[in-house]
């Protein structure tokens, strides 16, 4: 290897050392502290604190929320990426920017706009109260706010993948007489399945972990409107640290699982890209 592109071993290891120190401080230590605090009173206590009825209720609400939010945003992500990646139309850049909006505003504002919409002082407040429908401080608002916050997650992963695939294969299928749905199902979907999987996993992780937006609309009613992150806050503020970190460890596992899927997907894409290059070379 020519040494014009690299530094002396001393500089190299110094830079690696600084990088690892920084990552140790900000990534390894927090990860370690979550699991060590969760298990500090032993494995039996760990499972006992996870079995607390309020924590179980919070896990249930978190699962239900993700089960509704993720499929809706998945359908949107497929529709949006089909339109954006396969066609060239006016206003595309504006649409792309608008799709990103939920990611660029404060989660507290994301929750607040739904209070303005459905709260007692809100636009639909009187009508909702007259019809005895409760949205704010009820699970409905938590689900709606979660859909808002995780809105772009699938679309953002799918758009670049679909763009990279191009439309030659789909055009060939259509020319040969396949229907649009069949083309999508048998041609497009196999090509994008890994990106789709990561988008769904990421969207799910964000849906289960959302805190700020959900906190504003929930009302923090124990056993009724607490998701897992809100339950963690309550336990922590009650100085019940072991139980708080036990609940937090579930979400940390989810985050690690998400990263594993991401690495797998990247590995798959790399293999596929290399295969494509090889075929082109022949």
């Amino acid at each position: 290897m020519s040494n014009s592109r690299t530094e002396s071993p001393l500089v190299r290891w110094l830079l690696i050392g600084i990088a690892l120190f920084y990552l140790g401080l900000f990534i390894f230590m927090p990860l370690f502290i979550v699991f060590s605090t969760a298990l500090e009173k032993g494995i039996a206590f760990y499972f006992q604190s996870l079995g607390d009825p309020d924590t179980i209720a919070a896990i249930k609400l978190t699962l239900i929320t993700a089960l509704i939010a993720v499929p809706l945003n998945l359908i949107f992500g497929i529709a949006a990426s089909w339109a954006i990646a396969k066609f060239d139309f006016h206003g595309k850049n504006l649409l792309l920017t608008l799709i990103d909006v939920p990611l660029s505003i404060s989660p507290v504002i994301s929750g607040f706009i739904f209070v303005l919409l459905f709260g007692l002082q809100g636009v639909f407040g009187h009508w909702l109260r007259a019809h005895d429908i409760r949205i704010i401080f009820a699970p409905t608002a938590i689900i709606i706010a979660t859909i808002f916050v995780t809105f772009p997650m699938v679309a953002r992963e799918l758009i670049p993948v679909m763009k990279a695939q191009g439309s030659d294969e789909e055009e060939a299928a259509i020319t040969l007489g396949a229907s649009g749905w069949k083309t999508f199902w048998y041609v497009t979907l196999p090509n994008i399945k890994w990106g789709l999987l990561y988008g769904v996993i990421l969207c799910n992780a964000r849906a289960m972990g959302e805190f700020g937006a959900v906190s504003v609309v929930s009302g923090h009613i124990r056993g009724f409107t607490n998701t897992l992150p809100l339950q963690i806050e309550i336990l922590y503020n009650d100085y019940d640290f072991t139980a708080a970190f036990a609940a937090a460890s579930l979400l940390a596992f989810l985050a690690l699982f998400t990263l594993v899927i991401k690495s797998l997907v990247e590995f798959r894409y790399q293999a596929e890209l290399e295969a494509v290059h090889k075929n082109k070379a022949h």
Binding site: T6, S104, S106, P107, I109, F211, L251, A255
Partner: protein
């Protein structure tokens, strides 16, 4: 009509129609509530809220800490991206995968973990208190939490650019007699600069409105360690919708400006790549 180019692929109107409908229902209509609510507030009321000392202190903390954290992350983010793109060391694959951990970890979990670490009785906080530094329950704690949150945005925008730099350019510069520092300053840095700007604006935009990871470590003293999103929540709990809306509106406008800056930086980066 909308299409710039005819295509024989089906489903354009259905896909775009559904996209726009869903976007309007979930994002645009709810977000417009903030502007509708603003239109009912007189300018003097708005001005009184956003220039109140407590609000100004909250803005200063949220924007200031986000700025400092993002600037620090430019240096460390670049260094980490450099190490990952160029060097080999044991455990690199795991380190590379864990870069996204702050992005994948729910903010409340990050918040309690960082607070436990940096509190005066925590592992790192105790060491820091020995040398007279108070990390948690202080504005330094806010900066630390935002450094955690912003890191992946900078590493992940810079890393691919560093990987794509053609080795031949560096070798050519080297054979022409340029030293490592000279090559870095005149070849590598200009190439990476647009991605550093993009990464900075992404991290800055993400961290100014951050709530979950900060609220535990901040201390939340009004006028001192109270972040702007928390002040919005406080106003809401007091049923002061005018106050909450005014504070939120300023934050929203700053977010939109940063979104525009990010788009511009990405356009700049793609133009630069296209030219070279």
């Amino acid at each position: 009509m909308l299409l710039k180019q005819k295509s024989n692929l089906p489903g354009f109107h259905l896909a775009l129609g559904y996209t726009v409908l869903y976007l309007s229902l979930i994002v645009l209509i709810p977000l417009s509530m903030l502007f509708i609510k603003t239109s009912t507030i007189s300018f003097s009321d708005f001005w009184n809220v956003v220039t109140a000392p407590r609000t100004l202190a909250a803005y200063r903390l949220s924007f200031g800490a986000a700025f400092i954290a993002s600037v620090i992350n430019i240096f460390f983010g670049f260094l980490i991206a450099w190490v990952l793109a160029r060097y080999r060391f044991p455990g690199k694959k795991i380190v590379d995968a864990l870069i996204d951990f702050p992005f994948a970890l729910p903010t409340a979990v990050a918040g309690i973990a960082l607070t436990t670490l940096y509190a005066p009785n925590g592992i790192i906080g105790h060491a820091l208190s020995q040398i007279g530094i108070k990390a948690a329950y202080n504005s330094l704690g806010v900066v630390l939490a935002l450094m955690f949150i912003g890191l992946p945005f900078i590493v992940r925008t810079v890393e691919p650019v560093l990987q794509e730099i053609d080795p031949e350019i560096e070798e050519a510069a080297s054979s022409l007699g340029a030293g490592r520092f000279e090559i870095f300053r005149r070849v590598i840095f200009p190439t990476v600069l647009p991605s550093l700007v993009t990464g900075f604006s992404l991290a800055f935009a993400r961290t100014i409105g951050e709530y979950g990871s900060v609220v535990f470590i901040a201390g939340n003293m009004p006028g001192k360690t109270e972040i702007a999103p928390l002040l919005i929540i406080t106003k809401l709990e007091e049923f002061d919708y005018t106050g909450a809306t005014s504070i939120a509106l300023v934050m929203l406008i700053v977010s939109f400006i940063l979104l525009a800056l990010t788009n511009w930086a990405q356009w700049w980066a793609s133009k630069k790549v296209g030219l070279s």
